[in-house]
């Protein structure tokens, strides 16, 4: 019974997709007008279409198309929130793993390293199961909301932040360990000290986590449902628009996404350089 109810719940989204398909079908005859170049083998895309698509994409970005802005804004909000949540758990855990030695520590490190490669759709599936009507957290009604997307991305990148911050904190701890113990600082006191003094290294860790969150499509697709104007983010929009053949919007979003990823990496490099100059 519960399962049937869930299908009713997502029907509006299904209808939306059907409507999109309809709009697409109306456009197709124009593409297939006689005298146009043959489609790219195996794609149905024509070279002229690609040129026009790029031009339209630039136009969409330049004029600040509201649909594009909404999608980009939601993407940034979801991925930033997920990075923040994952950092609150992942960074202290990583630092604690760097400063403590206990039985099972190695197993936790191996598990974290393995989880760094967790496929986003699997993270999405786990959160989907937890948040679905019949799942343990179904009563919260979070499935197919931005909150669910934040939770899924948090699950996805928290192990990455923990594993990377452990790697970043370990050489620092090697240097500090004896002096901090001489000062009488135990592991619980050493963790905030390492997080503070390793802040430049940790910022690059955060940027890596944010890059991973903003670029993944599987988790947000599964738990967000790609509902237009509500849970549609850049990656899910690109996947949908590409499959629909609406290349301008896909290209515009793809360009913005790449620009964001590039900006994140430039920022990481600048921070590393600044840290090196500061004697970091």
């Amino acid at each position: 019974m519960k399962f049937r109810y869930r299908i009713v719940y997502i029907r509006p989204n299904g209808r939306q997709a059907a409507a999109n398909r309809g709009r697409n079908r109306r456009r197709r005859p124009v593409d297939q007008a006689p005298g146009r170049p043959a489609p790219w083998p195996g794609t149905g895309i024509r070279v002229n279409d690609l040129g026009a698509a790029f031009a339209t994409a630039l136009h969409l970005v330049a004029e600040g198309d509201p649909a594009v802005l909404r999608i980009v804004g939601l993407s940034l909000r979801v991925s930033l929130a997920a990075t923040l949540c994952a950092a609150l758990a992942g960074l202290p855990l990583g630092a604690l793993l760097a400063v403590t030695r206990f039985p099972g520590r190695q197993a936790i490190i191996v598990a974290l390293n393995a989880l760094m490669g967790l496929p986003p759709v699997v993270a999405g599936l786990l959160i989907y199961l937890a948040l679905s009507r019949s799942g343990p957290l179904g009563g919260l009604g979070l499935l197919f909301t931005p909150a669910a997307m934040v939770i899924a991305q948090t699950l996805l990148i928290a192990p990455i932040l923990a594993a990377l911050s452990r790697q970043a904190m370990e050489p620092l701890w090697e240097e500090y360990a004896e002096q901090l113990r001489s000062f009488g600082a135990g592991p619980w006191r050493a963790v905030p000290t390492l997080l503070r003094d390793g802040r430049f290294a940790l910022l690059t860790v955060l940027l890596a986590g944010f890059g991973r969150a903003s670029a993944e499509v599987g988790a947000v697709m599964v738990v967000g449902g790609n509902i237009e104007g509500f849970t549609r983010v850049m990656t899910t929009a690109i996947a949908l628009e590409t499959s629909k053949g609406d290349l301008p919007l896909a290209l515009a979003l793809g360009g913005i996404l790449m620009a964001i990823v590039l900006a994140v990496n430039v920022a990481a490099q600048v921070l590393r350089d600044a840290a090196a100059r500061a004697g970091g």
């Binding site: 240097e175 500090y176 004896e178 002096q179 113990r181 001489s182 000062f183 009488g184 600082a185 006191r189 000290t193 003094d197 390793g198 500061a278 004697g279 970091g280």
Partner: protein
Amino acid sequence: MRAPEAALPLLAEGLGYAAGGVAILRGVTLAIEAGPPLLVIGPNGAGKSVLLRLLHGLLPPGAGRIHWAGPGPKRDAMVFQRPVMLRRTALANLEYPLALAGLPRAARRARAEAALAESGLAALAGRPARRLSGGEQQRLALARAAALAPEVLFLDEPCASLDPAATRAVEAAIAGIAARGTKIVMTTHDLAQARRLAGEVAFLHRGRLLDHAPAAAFFAGPAAPEAAAFLRGELLA
């Protein structure tokens, strides 16, 4: 600043320590009392650094025991051969252990600034500590330890990687700390430095304590033949 009760004397009884099956210290019995600096000397690999780490509590003894015989709480600090500078300003480096010791913010700022001024480093207060020169870093590490007003200060080869000018500045700082009543326990492999600083000398060789005497008596005629050979500048196997 100074607790009324002393934790000294510090007694080491039958101390032993081994790492990887290799004995580093064997049967070291030593009493450290308040007074002039104790210089722990001996050839490389004699176990000087390990002895200091055991006494400071950084390493657990493999055998024997360490006992602070006085009624007061243990107040000891240590400065390492390579100073460990936190990635903060010089002043923040001084404030950090004071914060750990539970001093309120205003008090630790005042104490840290006073310690910087005392060691002639006041001009460097706002500089990132890791950008200072080796000598400045070691003096900062000494000031940081001294700001804790320890009863005993362990120094592990504090001048080993410094040039003569920096060594002179660090030795002056050490003498100043000793003059203010802190017991210095310091290792060095530099005999001339030991002659300059020592009030008493402990001679370690191959993990054993072969001599412990007032500096004048030790340099006039050490009890152990190995110590005599070491003083003559012979290479000890």
